[in-house]
Symmetry: C2
Subunit: 76 residues, 2 copies
């Protein structure tokens, strides 16, 4: 599983677990809704800067986004 997909799958999983829409999260993290949507489709290789922002907004450990086990379970 490509790390972009791992990140995308975990980002969707965490956002949904927090009950946030893409609009909510984009607004709170201060990023554009279209950028967030593309991140969640695994289009971009996110940088630590955006991972740091999303982790702070979602109040999770940054490593959660790169957890390959949870991502592959979710992808099944």
């Amino acid at each position: 599983m490509d790390l972009r997909e791992v990140f995308a799958t975990n980002l969707r999983r965490i956002r949904n677990a927090k009950g946030l829409s893409q609009d909510d999260l984009a607004y709170e993290a201060g990023i554009s809704r279209s950028y967030l949507s593309q991140l969640e489709k695994g289009v971009f290789y996110a940088s630590l800067k955006i991972i740091e922002k999303l982790a702070a907004t979602l109040e999770v450990e940054p490593a959660e986004f790169l957890n390959t086990h949870k991502a592959s379970r979710k992808a099944r």
Copy 2:
């Protein structure tokens, strides 16, 4: 602790634990030695692409690089 520092501290920790020099790791990962040195100083916000490459080369889970607990323990 800034996520660049967390990444830098964990990268140095993992590289040393594998007994690799910066030259060794840079060569095996196919990146320049100066770029690796700057990553280990926390200069850059690394992207998932380089994290994926380094994780494969060092044979560790990508999430290891963003583990804030191990990084802060190491930084003391």
